[in-house]
């Protein structure tokens, strides 16, 4: 006979879990009690449950494994919600374990009771309230299977306190089989054949690759496809790193803050090959104008993404990696030398640029971080200008190196995600590119870094504004900077020191390199406060609702 909490931990170990990001509380006392004696499992004690969910998410994105977070009932569980929604929007496999009041008290408005299964229903791939200890092992196993298979996503398991303390005979199931859930992995061969025919005929093809390439671990197969066909590749924000930025056929990110040449190429393409991407409105701009002369091939594991936003002509549902493998076997290259020279010209005529003067500009900071880490660091971002500058100016050559909240756009994501990534990769350089607004949303995690000895580097691009919103106010609201000035802020260097970590302020462009080098050489966590010029904007920019060809930029 084993206690529910023991069965839970046994099952987690069996699933290969090494780390749990968690926070204590009344309803999870029995679980933490078992963790106390489980030496094989590292528990990272965060300082706010939201950070536990983001850290599990960062861990999952950096490794491809399932991340696990744990919180108590009521407020503990509701604090996970933003992190779960973030993972859901970006299809990241995490397991959220929550304590619940004893089953006999559910529905009584008991102390620290919240219907977290009800609350998280629209933001989880699946969720469970475990009613009997006998079901616990099976449901946890099922949860892992669902989280990591098909289109991955978060699964929540709500465990009443009596379920974790009650005992039953424990037997761990070997395999999960669900009659109602059978994702399609293998692409339809006829559709794959149709795709190869369309590719062979194309004169102006573009590959548009998203996060699905990364979650399917299919970067090598994408590269093979490109090397066989010489079709240029643009990435979504989520797809960055799925194709090497240094490759001559890479044309950068597309969409609202994409490169001009990527947006021109997609707008003029006669064939668009969408791979593991979902035609988000930040990518398409005005839907009716998006790739309007192109035949669209869409490779995706989720049938509900096919023709959801943009009508697709050749859908191939299945695992990106398996489909590309089949495609690569029979592909024949199109004749596109004219198209490629046109793209080269665009690249030459409309490069990604910023003003290079004596000012401390954020783009320069990112370029320096990229240079000094040889483009090999794991970069997490917050949301806003910092995120877009990081996406534009850091050159990602490998997958799982750029961790960013794409779909939900969660400020406060980057720092805890960096913690998760650092736990998974103790030897790697992990940099959180932050804004002064975002970093304050989970700044309390500095203590977690110290306690867990995680040498995360934080680069705050500090313009004393909620910069992206201020940019919109400048461009679309006649410079009425309503409630975006956050110059009343702590001294970040002193704050870092208060937590016992190294803080470095950088006011001048010429000090950037030295400061980054110092941060990289330092063994522990470092907070860099870059006081960038306040009114710098992210360009190019496609105004919301405009066509991709209607980019504005403001380089004087």
């Amino acid at each position: 006979m084993k206690q529910g909490a023991e069965i839970l931990i046994d099952t987690l170990l069996k699933e290969g879990v090494e780390t749990i990001f968690g926070y204590q509380g009344g309803a999870v006392l029995p679980i933490f009690d078992v963790l106390y004696r489980t030496k094989e499992l590292r528990v990272v004690l965060v300082r706010h449950e939201q950070a536990a969910a983001h850290a599990a998410d960062g861990y999952a994105r950096a490794t491809g494994k399932v991340g696990v977070c744990l919180a108590t009932s009521g407020p503990g569980s509701t604090n996970l919600v933003t992190g779960i929604a973030t993972a859901y929007m970006d299809s990241i496999p995490i397991i959220a374990l929550t304590g619940q009041v004893p089953s006999t008290m559910i529905g009584n408005d008991a102390f620290q009771e919240a219907d977290i299964v009800g609350i998280t229903r629209p933001i989880t791939k699946q969720n469970y309230l475990v009613k009997r200890v006998e079901d616990l092992g099976r449901l946890v196993k099922e949860a892992f299977y669902i989280a990591r298979s098909g289109r991955p996503g978060p699964v929540l398991i709500d465990i009443p306190k009596d379920v974790s303390t009650n005992k039953c005979k424990s037997k761990i199931l070997e395999a999960v089989s669900l009659r109602s859930y059978n994702p399609t992995y293998k692409g339809h061969s006829l559709q794959i054949k149709r795709a190869t025919e369309a590719i062979a005929r194309a004169k102006k093809p573009v590959i548009y690759a998203g996060g699905g390439v990364i979650s399917s671990n299919a970067s090598d197969k994408l590269k093979e496809l490109v090397e066989k066909t010489h079709i240029p590749v643009t990435n979504t924000l989520m797809g960055l790193g799925s194709f090497p930025a240094a490759h001559p056929l890479f044309i950068g990110m597309l969409g609202m803050h994409g490169t001009k040449y990527a947006n021109f190429a997609v707008s003029e393409a006669d064939l668009l090959i969408a791979i593991g991407a979902r035609f988000d409105d930040r990518i398409t701009g005005k839907m009716e104008e998006f790739a309007k002369s192109a035949t669209i091939i869409h490779i995706d594991i989720d049938p509900s993404e096919i023709s959801k936003n943009i009508k697709c002509h050749i859908p191939i549902v299945g695992d990106v990696g398996l489909i590309l493998e089949e495609l690569n076997k029979i592909i024949s290259p199109p004749e596109i030398s004219e198209w490629l020279s046109k793209i080269s010209e665009w690249k030459k005529d409309y490069p990604l640029t910023y003003k290079e003067d004596g000012e401390l500009r954020p783009q320069y900071v990112i370029e320096e971080i990229c240079k000094l880490t040889n483009g090999e660091a794991i970069i997490t971002t917050e949301v806003g200008q910092n995120q877009m500058w990081a996406a534009q100016y850091y050159k990602f050559n490998k997958p799982r190196r750029f961790l960013s909240s794409g779909g939900l756009g969660t400020m406060g994501y980057g720092f805890p995600a960096a913690i998760g990534a650092q736990v998974a990769n103790p030897g790697a350089i992990v940099f959180d590119i932050a804004g002064d607004g975002s970093i304050q949303m989970n700044i309390q995690e500095l203590a977690t870094c110290v306690q867990e000895k995680l040498p995360v580097k934080i680069a705050i691009l500090n313009n004393q504004y909620l910069g992206m919103v201020r940019q919109w106010q400048e461009l679309f609201y006649d410079k009425r900077y309503s409630h975006t000035d956050i110059s009343v802020a702590p001294d970040f260097v002193k704050l870092a020191e208060a937590y016992g970590i190294l803080g470095i302020r950088v006011d001048k462009k010429e000090d950037v390199e030295k400061a980054i080098k110092k941060a990289l050489a330092y063994k522990g966590p470092v907070l860099l406060d870059f006081r960038i010029c306040r009114l710098e904007n992210v360009f190019p920019m496609v105004p919301a609702g405009a066509a991709l060809t209607q980019m504005v930029d403001g380089i004087a």
Binding site: P122, I146, S180, P303, S304, I306, S307
Partner: protein, 158 residues
């Protein structure tokens, strides 16, 4: 256009909430919804009547299929099928009881309860038949009217 979507789901706690949440969360409307276990008690059948253009219906079907607990989704609208709905209606007959009974006879509605001024009818049928009865009863006073929402089944191949 109106569609009848028939969904087989796991008969588990929370599944109905997931289906209902899918509709409300994406702004789709449910005109009627019937749920009950099938001959296999671990499986429930939902019959959902909804409206939307082809694109919306396609998304509804795909999103329903995407739910982990969905076993099968079929749109019966364009297949040959039989639809039925159960109606209970309480009428104040205002002294014209025999007229109400006559109408009930014509429609083959059953009289299931009678009181001094009231008569309650039960009828099963398709939408047209139900509306026909309701229209005629409007000349009396309809006190309460309850419809179950549609259920539908495909016709067997002849």
């Amino acid at each position: 256009m109106r569609h009848i979507i028939s969904v087989l789901v796991e008969n588990k706690f929370g599944v109905l909430a997931r289906v209902a949440g899918l509709f409300s969360g994406r702004g789709y409307n449910i005109d009627s919804l019937c749920v009950a276990p099938t001959d296999d008690p671990t499986v429930s059948r939902m019959t959902i009547v909804t409206a939307g253009d082809e694109k919306i219906i396609e998304q509804i079907e795909k999103q329903l299929n995407k739910l982990v607990d969905t076993i099968k989704v079929s749109d019966l609208t364009h297949t040959t099928h039989v639809e039925r709905e159960l109606l209970l209606v309480k009428v104040r007959h205002k002294g014209k009881r025999s007229e109400v009974i006559e109408i009930a006879d014509i429609f083959r509605a059953k009289i299931i309860d009678v009181a001094k001024d009231y008569i309650t009818l039960e009828m099963t049928g398709d939408e047209e038949k139900l509306s026909g009865l309701i229209d005629l009863l409007k000349s009396f006073e309809i006190v309460e009217l309850i419809r179950t929402g549609k259920v539908a089944i495909t016709r067997a191949e002849k």
